[in-house]
């Protein structure tokens, strides 16, 4: 028990570092507000069809978002995956990237890209109700499988939101049959990708649980919620029929699943 790390020196160091931690927190809040502003400006300019400004604004918003994530990582010494603030900022960054580089601008004003910006603003609005600071230190935050569990889960949420943007666009269109080959199938592609990411997260979670509690399954609400998401995804892929009505149902389930996943993520933060 010699050379104990809980000595008075560390307490003094903590007191000295308090000021810089507070500064860092303020910087993170400013960064969050700035990215919120630029995403909102992107949506407005996009709706007004100002082609060059929205492109620049979206790149600035993404850059600021990335900087905030880096700030969180540097100040907390862990990946920005763990609390609602970190998680949703990470999701907005991935979703913004997908919106910028993996979708196209259509004639229709409320197209997929537009829905992506709306979704991002919705996520950032949810963040308003949570503490805007890095998550508390937890001893497991550096454990590979824990990081992968949270990382893949956030990635799954981002791709699912992107997929939902396609499904919403598809559902709101009166001439849905003409859009099937583009909008609906792109949504389906990203829903499949979501499944891969979500299952990767589940597998990492199983290893984490096995190592921490001696079993890969636990009879608890969190495990039931994950199973519910998997069942929703399975349901979306098992709707019988190849007609437009089946596609309608698939798109509704795809969009509803994202709401379920988001609700679970947010309620976890509340608890």
């Amino acid at each position: 028990m010699s050379g104990l790390p809980y000595s008075a020196t560390s307490v003094r160091q903590s007191a000295l570092g308090y000021r810089s931690i507070e500064d860092m927190k303020n910087l993170i809040i400013v960064g969050y507000a700035t990215s919120y502003f630029f995403y909102a400006a992107t949506l407005i300019t996009y709706l007004l069809r100002l082609r060059i400004p929205w492109r620049y604004l979206s790149i600035i918003a993404l850059t600021v978002n990335l900087l905030v994530l880096l700030l969180i990582s540097i100040s907390s010494d862990h990946f920005p995956f763990f609390n609602v603030f970190e998680c949703l900022l990470f999701v907005t960054f991935i979703l913004g990237g997908l919106g910028c580089f993996c979708s196209q601008t259509e004639k229709h004003r409320l197209d997929v890209r537009c829905w992506v910006w709306i979704e991002i603003l919705f996520l950032l609005t949810i963040v308003l109700f949570f503490p805007k600071e890095p998550s508390f230190y937890r001893p497991n935050q550096t454990f590979l499988w824990v990081v992968l569990f949270h990382g893949f889960r956030n990635l799954a949420l981002a791709t699912m939101l992107f997929s939902a943007a396609h499904f919403i666009r598809f559902r709101l269109e009166s001439r849905r049959r003409q859009l099937r080959n583009y909008i609906f199938l792109s949504g389906r592609n990203f829903l499949l990708l979501t499944t891969v990411f979500f299952l990767c997260s589940e597998y990492s979670g199983m290893i984490w649980c096995q190592r921490g509690w001696g079993d890969f399954w636990h009879w608890s609400p969190t495990f039931f919620q994950s199973t519910l998401i998997i069942l929703c995804l399975m349901f979306a892929f098992h709707i019988p029929g190849k007609n437009h009505r089946s596609d309608d149902i698939r798109s509704v389930i795809g969009a509803v699943t994202v709401l379920l996943m988001l609700t679970i993520q947010v309620t976890k933060g509340l608890s």
């Binding site: 028990m1 104990l4 790390p5 809980y6 560390s10 160091q13 903590s14 082609r51 010494d77 196209q104 601008t105 259509e106 004639k107 508390f136 230190y137 937890r138 001893p139 497991n140 003409q178 859009l179 080959n181 583009y182 199938l185 792109s186 389906r188 592609n189 499949l192 990708l193 499944t195 891969v196 299952l199 990767c200 589940e202 597998y203 199983m206 290893i207 984490w208 096995q210 190592r211 921490g212 509690w213 001696g214 079993d215 890969f216 399954w217 636990h218 009879w219 608890s220 609400p221 039931f224 919620q225 199973t227 519910l228 069942l231 929703c232 399975m234 349901f235 098992h238 709707i239 019988p240």
Partner: protein, 276 residues
């Protein structure tokens, strides 16, 4: 007969089962969050299925019904999966081998193996939850092994063990420096020994010794925790089908990944999308 097999292999049946399963798990979430049944789920986590149905210390009736119902629905899903896979195999043999459909068939079969392994883990092996030991103490396992706690190495102030995880800072608690040493012996002979850390268990054959947490020691002479070494709370589990689940699950993920790549459809009617 053909009609029955068609119904059992239909996608309509699959969707119905999936809806029932979703409702079942929603009910499970509600049950697990209620004060009345929370204890039942603790029992399910600390023991295996045969104990859940014991007359003296078993689960409440409603939870037994919930679990049996879950098993019945899963059994119907398994029947649906077998019939559906069989129909697909026949189609592949008789009509044409389509690669992505073959991949999907494999994914379904692997899913069946994962689910089967999962179900088996509720019944096979054993589980000892929350074993509280102090340095030098031992615990007898069900299959004749003796677990000995030979050493507890705790570098931090034992006072921190009274705090919640949220209150701990990296300076206060060093999870990678705190460990305990255990041995497993049988018939008086030591078969294995090693250190167990937080999230790094000791594994011997199918037996896993997991360090759940360190426990604070209450000193009788005046509450000075630093005088005595902390104890440990361990979980010892044996799951012979664990390997089945852990090896088939990634195969399923890779399969879905391959299927995603194979069926990734590019937009066909680009005319519908006009750049501004």
């Amino acid at each position: 007969m053909k009609n029955i097999s068609e119904q059992l292999s239909s996608l309509y049946l699959t969707t119905i089962i999936l809806i029932v399963l979703m409702l079942w798990f929603t009910w499970g979430i509600l049950l697990s969050q209620s004060n009345t049944f929370g204890h039942g789920f603790d029992l399910m986590n600390s023991t295996l299925a045969p104990d859940w149905f014991s007359r003296t210390h078993g689960l409440p009736l409603l939870m037994k019904l919930w679990f049996v119902g879950l098993c019945v629905v899963m059994a119907v899903l398994a029947i649906n999966l077998v019939f559906c896979s069989w129909v697909k195999i026949l189609k592949i043999i008789r009509i044409k081998l389509i690669m992505h459909k073959m991949v999907m068939l494999i994914i379904h079969m692997v899913f069946g193996m994962v689910a089967f392994g999962h179900f088996g883990s509720f019944f096979l092996g054993y589980r000892h939850e929350n074993i509280k030991l102090q340095q030098g103490q031992s615990f007898a396992l069900k299959d004749g092994y003796i677990l000995n706690l030979t050493n507890v190495h705790f570098v931090d102030n034992p006072w921190v063990l009274g705090k919640s995880l949220k209150e701990l800072s990296p300076e206060e608690y060093h999870h990678d420096a705190n460990f305990s040493e255990v041995t497993l012996s049988r018939d008086g002979k030591q078969v294995t020994s090693g250190r167990i850390y937080f999230l790094i268990p000791l594994t011997y054959k199918n037996i896993q010794v997991t360090l759940k947490r360190f426990t604070p020691t209450k000193d009788i002479t005046g509450g000075n925790h630093a005088v005595q070494k902390p104890g440990v709370k361990l979980v010892v589990s044996k799951n012979p089908v664990k390997i089945l689940v852990f090896s088939f699950f990634p195969v399923m993920i890779v399969g879905i990944g391959i299927y995603t790549i194979m069926t990734w459809r590019q937009p066909e009617n680009k005319k519908a999308i006009q750049q501004t």
